[in-house]
Symmetry: C2
Subunit: 771 residues, 2 copies
């Protein structure tokens, strides 16, 4: 079923061979993170082979000067990038003066094991050094989920084949660079290192943005299980700190170091005293000790799994895949800080700069909404709320006025970072996804207060955008939206993209409806929103209504489908089956103009709109559109297959839904796109979750009720998932014959399964026969 | 009428003030060239103020690695740039050890005079040096039109205010760089310098392309009109050569050097022995002497003016403007070498890399066609013929097959250099202009043999391109061309650009007609063309006919106009008058998406098509289109106003034609676009010529007959021009009441003036009353 490099296991990712040419791939796959920092699975000991060192700290970014072939008016000056941060994972090992380096050893065995249940990475290997010494290494590390400024590595090594002197040197360094740097610039400056007693710290500041990161360590050394007798020697340069212990060994001795690391940044602390504070935290970790820290860490993971696990029976590969996705999402974002968001590669690589894309609202948001406490999704919304001022500025740069907002395509601090006109300026549908997330949040959580306090301000700014961005076409006698790029980026600068126009219309209507609701709910709060936004009730509201009622939505009447954009039917009508497989993926074989004028679709576009507003369409309409567009979709975005899978399930096409699900769920594990070396596709991982919960499970929230219409892939004997509705957990288990729902909460939950409506009482369990 | 910095003069450009802040502007305006090399008007003596040193050698280019923000499949690896070549214009002057440098002197008078009749630049100034010495300098230079590898500078200097020692040092240097370098790379390598007797030479080779340029000098020194007694001292480093003479002077003495320069390149000579050959040429120049060289040089210019002058009476500013344009065009391209072409900035700056654009065929070609011997236009066509193989390769990169050709947007050697997808891949109308130039050449020259030998091969490859690049639209039941950018670059990726589709149809038809003509004229030659091009007479010809007869050409029936592209009428319909002047030019004030979705047009698009095929449309049609599109055109391309001027004249709107003419004719002299510092707009200079000859003069070639329909701007008392029809010169003079035509040739010329047809005998002169 899969030719994965990894052993099948329900809870673990296991690599059993040392494959230097896949080194970067594995560094991505086995990367660890805890929402506040991340670390690629770089080897601790020196490695002279190919590697992408990656240490990342949340919230820290460097404004890398824009590089462009041909400047267009309105381009941003920089692209914000989460820089490769001071390195803390290194431990130099010297045996009789010879440095341990797997690229120079005979590797006799090698195994890497990521325990997703516990969030622990273990690596073991046996290597023969050029000198003939044999070392058996066992390295275990985790980035604490309970104390997210801490990380620990336990590195133990048994030496056989003789006796002599071994030296173990944990180190820290600010001498790092980014591979992805537009002008080969250094991102860090003002570097320093100090040590105090047994602790050491390195500090560096990002250039231009002046974020300071202090990375400290304390180390404990053991020989054959007993504290080492020799004292460690600490040395520093301006960029590095080393803590070295030298020890005599005899054949069979085991030497071990535990490296307690603290990473503190000015994102969360005053700069003053940061270095000392980091040393204190590292010291506290060492005092607490590896085992105690691990226990607390595992407890947090246990909670995460309790809230959001999906269990699949009968298909271990699918089980492993979905858990890998859930694990990575939880490693990337924990939802405690509304200043943070989710980069497409999380903390696993440099690509996409660690910045925020529309992926968050369009794909990832539902995952956190259903698997975490509602404050997590709320924080994701607040992230955009806090950027509203910048989004208004951004719209002004594009000539819009009066408080209209265009959220950036890519951002770290609210400012636009992207510089491709057809995307930066034209992929405006991102505004729609941001409005939709507010709606989605409220229907899941019932937190209407969010609308009053924050949401409406955003919605009003977005509606102002749409009202100005459309124009009246004398020719069509309707409002049109010209010059956009839809979710299908294989079309640029099109007119009347159905998806974009649909979202514009919906946003205008939803904003008006929400205002009307608030007016009737609380005149005072309503007046406050109106005052805060300087809303012209007379003019603006009537204009929005006028536009929503008269916006042009292209359709093809004969085919009974929505038309992706004006002129779509002028294209040569082909399907993916007509393509020569040697020419795929198209974006690596066809010139851009050829892709643009072809009928082929990168990712769900009309279908993305149908996914969002499925309840507005009857099944025949959905089917006609799916049957027209899906065969034209090359799924060359990692965000594509999952949405199609959900819709295929909606159309009861379990087999197709399953095929599409597999494309998403093991995208990185099986490296379908041959690019896992650059990092994991974090944001598209949520798609696998969507494909199970919304796809196979058929979960929807309609009319204050949780609905399910489950089906089950033939390969599975059963599957179950836990979701939270208004913070109340609900467990759903589906097998070939029945659906079992358990209310795990203290409150009654209104339910609908296969159309049958009931209210499930606290603790109640109910079985529904498969329809 | 003008606030020009330059004095009005019929034949001269005169600058009378030293304005350091306009230094780069004047370096462009006073630049010299002779088709084989060019030189900005950099000062001879050291100048520490702002300057753009510019020395260019025709045919030499450096492939500057592409810089791009987001790579698209199909982009070229490099952009070819004519590099700043080894410098030869410098003469260091030291008086009593103090270096003459106008940035450090009190400039008491300053005058620069470009004599366009003779092609000579003279600069005189009086400066007080910090020491108090007064120097009166007179520097005169020209780049020989008769021996285009030679240039001469005569630099004389009178010193007053004391006596002492003066040192004059002509120098050469390969230590030059380009301001326009994507990666700050050096463009030159393998530099060397030698001297032999009184001659010196520097040699350098372009990196990657390995062009070698050898620049030599020989100098003669005079004191008070007599050969200097002291001997010059020659010194070289690896990159420079200096020839220094030291002389005692007393108050009022005049010191003079004549620097004879030879610039030879491996573009025209074997590399072996190039340096020595350059010294020989410099020596020969010195032997011939300044005056003799100047005499030959002026003779060539006299011929140029005899063939192509335009005389305007009563409007000295217009006279100066048109002569400046004609002068620059002749400085840039002499038409003797089919490997050369015309860069948008000629030899006057670095911008646009000196490469070839569609400007050549669409705008510049008619100028050379009418003012030079027909071999000049033929060489411009051969340039493209020689690149046919590369154009076919280029089309292959975009997925086209079977010998279809897409000529590059920008090129030096036939390979595409541009990297902006919406232009590189989509501005395919350039293919149409190349076909049109062949047609235009043949109707002017009657050289049908060109078709047989070369033209048809190109036309067939272009027709193959159009046949593949269009597609059948089931929806429209016609052929469509999707995803293009028209001449109006303020629209990107549009469908069915009327101009592009019109050119496609015309090319298919013209190719078929030409083949049919050849078949009837010579079966043997026809078969040879068919064999050379592997033409499938059955399939290809019938397909071309089918497409030409069924291609979609968008029109707006109610308005009675051709529609620029699909969906144009969905835009907000405004005219330029509606724009806030503070927001112009739009491309500096509006973001790109806003420009794209606006109705505003950068340069003639539909009107460019009407200009090309004017005889196919009645006057009402032309007027309706002109009245619709011209008010929407912001003329933000230097190529725009002239075409509109020709059409306005066609519609008898003399005043509008004149206003539009002025925008073109003095674009650089009056620096309308505030960018003359970067170089002159050489290719758009042909537009001023078009506006007079085709616009006011109404010249057309129809049915083997030269037609005129002259009108005259109110400000002019008369104007006259000379054009060549089938190499026969014809002089046309227009005043307020009559048109006088003189046949200056040895052959009868069929003529039509205001609809009256006659044949003008050799030497005959005929007067026509103004209609």
């Amino acid at each position: 079923m899969t030719d994965s490099r990894f052993q099948s296991d329900e809870w673990k990712i296991i690599e059993t061979q040392f494959e230097p040419e896949r080194g970067r791939d594995s560094e991505s796959i086995f990367a660890l993170g805890n929402g506040m920092m991340g670390q690629r699975a770089n080897f601790e000991e020196t490695y002279s082979g190919d590697t992408l060192p990656g240490t990342y700290v949340a919230g820290i970014y460097y404004p890398d000067k824009t590089v462009v072939g041909w400047w267009k008016n309105g381009y941003p000056e920089y692209f914000a990038k989460v820089p490769n941060a001071p390195s803390w994972s290194g431990i130099i090992v010297r045996i009789d003066g010879e440095e341990l380096d797997l690229a120079r050893c005979k590797v006799k065995s090698f195994r890497r094991e990521l325990d997703m249940k516990e969030g622990v990475l273990t690596r073991t290997f046996t290597a023969m050094m050029p000198s003939g010494r044999i070392v058996d290494v066992r390295a275990k590390r985790f980035l604490s989920m309970s104390e997210p400024e801490r990380a620990v590595i336990r590195y133990s090594m048994r030496i056989t084949g003789g006796s002599g002197t071994a030296e173990i040197t944990p180190w820290l360094s600010t001498d790092v660079h980014n591979e992805d740097a537009n002008y080969d610039e250094k991102f860090w400056e003002n570097e320093s290192a100090i040590f105090l007693g047994t602790r050491a710290v390195v500090t560096a500041q990002t250039r231009k943005t002046a974020f300071v990161v202090a990375t400290a360590m304390e180390n404990t050394f053991y020989v054959n299980g007993k504290p080492a007798k020799s004292k460690p020697v600490l040395t520093v340069t301006d960029k590095t700190a080393h803590c070295s212990i030298t020890s005599k060994y005899t054949d069979g001795d085991t030497l071990e170091v535990t490296k307690y690391v603290a990473v503190l940044s000015s994102f969360n602390h005053p700069v003053e005293g940061l270095a000392k504070k980091a040393m204190t935290v590292a010291g506290a970790a060492a005092s607490e000790g590896f085992d105690a820290m691990l226990r607390d860490h595992i407890q947090v993971w246990a909670k995460k799994w309790e809230h959001g696990d999906i269990v699949i029976k009968g298909d271990i590969v699918a089980q492993q895949g979905i858990r890998f996705n859930i694990f990575q999402l939880n490693q990337t974002y924990t939802g405690d800080d509304p200043r943070l968001n989710i980069g497409p590669k999380g903390f696993t690589g440099e690509k996409y700069g660690g910045s925020t894309y529309w992926d968050t609202e369009a794909f990832v948001f539902p995952f956190y909404l259903s698997t975490a406490d509602s404050h997590v999704a709320r924080n994701l919304l607040l992230y955009r709320y806090k950027h509203l001022g910048k989004a208004i500025e951004n719209a002004q740069k594009l000539g819009l006025t009066g408080g209209a907002a265009l959220y950036p395509m890519v951002t770290m601090n609210g400012e636009e970072c992207h510089n491709e006109w057809e995307i930066t300026f034209e992929e405006i549908h991102r505004n729609g996804a941001i409005a939709y997330a507010i709606y989605n949040y409220i229907r899941h959580t019932g937190d209407q207060d969010y609308l009053t306090e924050y949401g409406l301000e955003v919605l009003i700014a977005l509606s102002r955008f749409w009202a100005q961005r459309c124009n009246w076409s004398q020719e069509k006698n309707q409002y049109v939206i010209l010059g956009v790029t839809g979710p299908n980026e294989y079309e640029n600068n099109v007119h009347n993209n159905w998806y974009t126009n649909t979202l514009a219309r919906w946003t205008l209507k939803y904003t008006s409806d929400s205002l009307a609701w608030l007016r009737s709910a609380s005149e005072i709060k309503y007046n406050s929103v109106v005052a805060r936004t300087h809303l012209d009730i007379q003019c603006e509201l009537s204009l929005w209504k006028e536009i929503a009622n008269n916006i042009y939505l292209p359709v093809h009447h004969d085919l009974g489908i929505f038309l992706q954009q004006d002129g779509f039917m002028d294209k040569v009508q082909q399907t993916v089956k007509d393509l020569d497989p040697a020419e795929r993926p198209l974006n690596q074989h066809w010139s851009w103009d050829r892709i643009l004028r072809s009928v082929f679709i990168k990712q769900a576009d009309v279908l993305q709109g149908i996914y969002f507003f499925e309840d507005e369409f009857d099944e025949d309409t959905i089917r006609r559109n799916f049957d027209f567009y899906e065969p034209r979709c090359v799924h060359e975005s990692s965000l594509s297959a999952s949405i199609h899978s959900v819709l295929a399930a909606r159309l009861h096409d379990t087999e197709r839904a399953y095929t599409l699900y597999l494309r998403t769920a093991r995208l990185d594990l099986d490296d379908y796109n041959m690019e896992v070396r650059d990092g994991l596709h974090i944001t598209s991982m949520a798609g696998a979750w969507l494909a199970i919960v919304e796809g196979f499970g058929g979960m929807r929230i309609y009319n204050e009720r949780v609905c399910f219409n489950p089906l089950i892939p033939a390969a599975w004997s059963s599957y179950s998932f836990i979701i939270r509705y208004r913070n109340n957990p609900l467990r759903v288990e589906v097998n070939g014959s029945a659906v079992n729902v358990v209310n795990l909460s203290q409150e009654a939950i209104p339910l609908e399964v296969y159309g049958e409506r009931i209210t499930l009482q606290p603790g109640e369990e109910k079985k529904f026969g498969k329809s």
